[in-house]
Symmetry: C3
Subunit: 344 residues, 3 copies
């Protein structure tokens, strides 16, 4: 899609200084620019770039007063960030998908689909599934028996949802994520072989949740693995059976959460964190990337096993100078030996 500067200015209620007919096909950063792009100036730190940017158009605040000549076209707006967010949603066209159910699909006759569906090619939907209205289900998605999907849900290509799971309104699941595979439950028999413990529960994803690409959320052994409303999970995360992730908690990539962990609401969990089984993480806990959590915790944490964040950094500062500390101990011993010798 291409727009004239004038069209954009009209959309966001701005006024133009420069060429109203210049064509724009996408956004750019002001320091990178590029012909045919629109950028923005919202942070004074970047002011210098407006005099040199190659972006065709730059959004500026009505408070901006140039101190040197400017070659790009400017659109002057009340609030640059608000205008920008509005614009980005318009440029972010996404993947095309017909507002219909493709004929190249395999959908069981018992499936109930709400108004205005968009279901792409090679999708498989098993029996007893219900899907709300305005859902987008991209190509090669698999939805197992009796899955319940709310309204306005987006499943990106290749997502696999096992039987009996539930996905709430407005939740978004990215490509090749797996929802509801068997929890890792085995018991050793008397011969040392593992016997599988049946995983009969499901996964419940509440509303407004976003799940990243290739993330896996295992079904509960009994009951539900639950991702509460507004939680955001990045890519390549492991959520084991019977875990609960609280509302509005965000978890970064490659983190692993072992079975039956209860994570509170509003937590921020960094990347590559590991949380051992059956622990509770209090509301609002912050966990530094790569930490290993081996006890129920709250506050801000770091280390493996994780301790208080600031204490970890203090200890680590001394860890870095351990060779020096060891040398000091040796020197003290030598000095003391000498002193004792003199004494005796």
């Amino acid at each position: 899609m291409q727009f004239k500067a004038k069209q954009i200015a009209d959309l966001i209620g701005g006024s133009i200084i420069g060429d109203p007919d210049i064509l724009i096909s996408g956004p750019s950063k002001i320091e990178e620019g590029g012909a045919g792009t629109i950028s923005f100036l919202a942070n004074a730190k970047y002011t210098d770039f407006i005099y040199t940017t190659t972006a065709s158009v730059v959004l500026v605040s009505k408070d901006f007063v140039p101190e040197r000549p400017i070659t790009c076209t400017m659109i002057v707006v009340e609030n640059v960030y608000v205008a920008l967010a509005f614009l980005m949603e318009n440029f972010n066209s996404g993947i095309s998908i017909e507002s219909t159910v493709s004929v190249l699909t395999s959908i069981h006759s018992s499936v109930v689909i709400g108004d205005n569906p968009a279901i792409d090619d090679y999708v498989i939907i098993k029996k007893g599934v219900t899907i709300g209205k305005n859902c987008k289900i991209y190509g090669q998605v698999f939805i197992g028996d009796n899955v319940e999907i709310g309204d306005d849900v987006v499943l990106y290509p290749g997502v696999k949802v096992y039987h009996n799971c539930k996905i709430g309104d407005r939740s978004v699941i990215h490509a090749n994520a797996v929802i509801g595979s068997d929890g890792f439950g085995f018991a050793k028999d008397e011969t040392g072989k593992f016997k599988k413990i049946p995983q009969t529960g499901n996964v419940v994803i509440e509303s407004d949740v976003e799940i990243g690409s290739n993330t896996v959320i295992d079904r509960a052994s009994m009951g539900s693995t639950t991702i509460k409303s507004g939680a955001k999970l990045d890519n390549l995360i492991q959520v084991a059976h019977n875990v609960t992730v609280g509302s509005n908690t965000a978890i970064a990539a490659l983190t692993g959460i072992a079975g039956s962990v209860e994570i509170g609401q509003g937590c921020l969990i960094g990347g590559q964190v590991g949380i051992a089984g059956h622990l509770s993480i209090a509301d609002g806990t912050m966990i530094q990337a790569q930490s290993g959590i081996s006890a129920s915790v709250k506050g801000k944490l770091y280390g493996s096993p994780a301790i208080d964040y600031n204490n970890y950094l203090k200890s680590y500062a001394h860890f870095r100078r351990l060779p020096e500390l060891a040398a000091q101990i040796r020197a003290l011993q030598a000095e003391l030996d000498k002193l004792s010798q003199i004494k005796s």
Copy 2:
């Protein structure tokens, strides 16, 4: 599926105290309960819950003597766990798949398929593949040339198996796992560019193996990457080229095993463990989550690089009080300086 309490009691050889006609549609935990669910009491710790549970039916041992009135229906059995395992397998119906080969598949004419196959939609099977009897191959699976699959194998949706790999009897591979992709083998040429080392081997998965969702097992450069019988791998695990994982070894999620590692049998390897290339891990080794293994090891281990588990925890206890140890050293020095001064 719904069952009457009486039908369940008959199935597991139990006797009923309460309503024999009450309907059950799934299991629950006794502390969570829910109408229409069946729960169980096997651990004395949970006894209090039987007086308050909202589960419709609870399995109890013949040794259980109530001390207060109970509102739920009870099924009295010899061994609660045995009855439970039997029941859970019956409730765990899984994803429906026709006991036939779907017409919505692409299967090469040379493929040999054993009795009683269930092959779902949009599956691709390339030439020379052989598949044993009673296999379930779910939607959107890809099986490359000359793959050999044993009896009673289950491949969940989206699994990709590259050419020449072998999968033994009763093995189960979860959604979007990848078996047999190229090992990460590159050699720098004189200009600093990487040249690919051909990866001509395969992956051999023996019998009774379970592989988690989105786990990747790379093919050997030559020979085989081997997962021995009874091994259980969780989700999102990386197994590099030429690795051997021993029989009845269990590996938790997000662990990475570098090239040519030999892991013994009966090992327990935690989540997010890293094992450097060409090492041997002895039979029965236990490795704590997040450890980094940089030498051939046995016993129980922790740390990066990993050392003996108890020694790591002892050292870590002192790590936590390093600022204090450093202060003690400074105090000792000061005291000693004073003493020396007095002396001189």
Copy 3:
């Protein structure tokens, strides 16, 4: 494919000692061997195996002089490694795919495809996509709107490429990798709920790049996430929005790179490394597996947070004997107390 020893000798310009008609169907290691396989002897350390190997044929250098009787057939060549690399490329036949576009695909009428395409079953290609010549696109791949793919590109089964991304000549992407999913960008609103920041950029993969199975590369919020020419990424790696990975940099499995990180060229990054957002990694940096990078760095690194590699190992050596150091401090204190007492 099967070859006679004589055919192989002709291919690589070698001469035969033994049976020219013996049949070969694949390579083996000399210590493992196996009838019908061809192995090689290039490292003197393995010389003993040539007298006992069960391989049918062994490649040897013209300098090799047997000291005992040999039962296998030998092919004598100038340079064993060169001959071997040549052979392995011939044995590594890969997954069969017709040199045509399958009819079992969903390709938008606007898509432009270069000469000699091989596009497998159940592939979806959305509108505006351009594909160069000699590309192999395996089954169940998804390519979103306006994606640009160069010449000689290979996309293995199940790869998902979101809209507007670019993939350069000769790049290879392994099974179930995801290119261009949304970056993990959310801002908390005044009520503590996350609001999604639109991710309007794309991913640019330059030429000669290899991407492992189940790896995820997120699209930029604006501009591009870029993987420069010749970079090699292993399996299960997370590359966040707006990251740049430099030319000929290699990254091992399960590493996570946070947003806006700039990685230089020729870097070697181990497995399970974490790199925090907005950092710069200098050209040629080497990062030990499991390290956590929390500052812009160069050189060779280890630890979480990572410090100089050798300093980390020195500190860690003292970490291991921290209980002993603590005991020494206690002993010193006791000795000093005694000395002071005597003194006073």
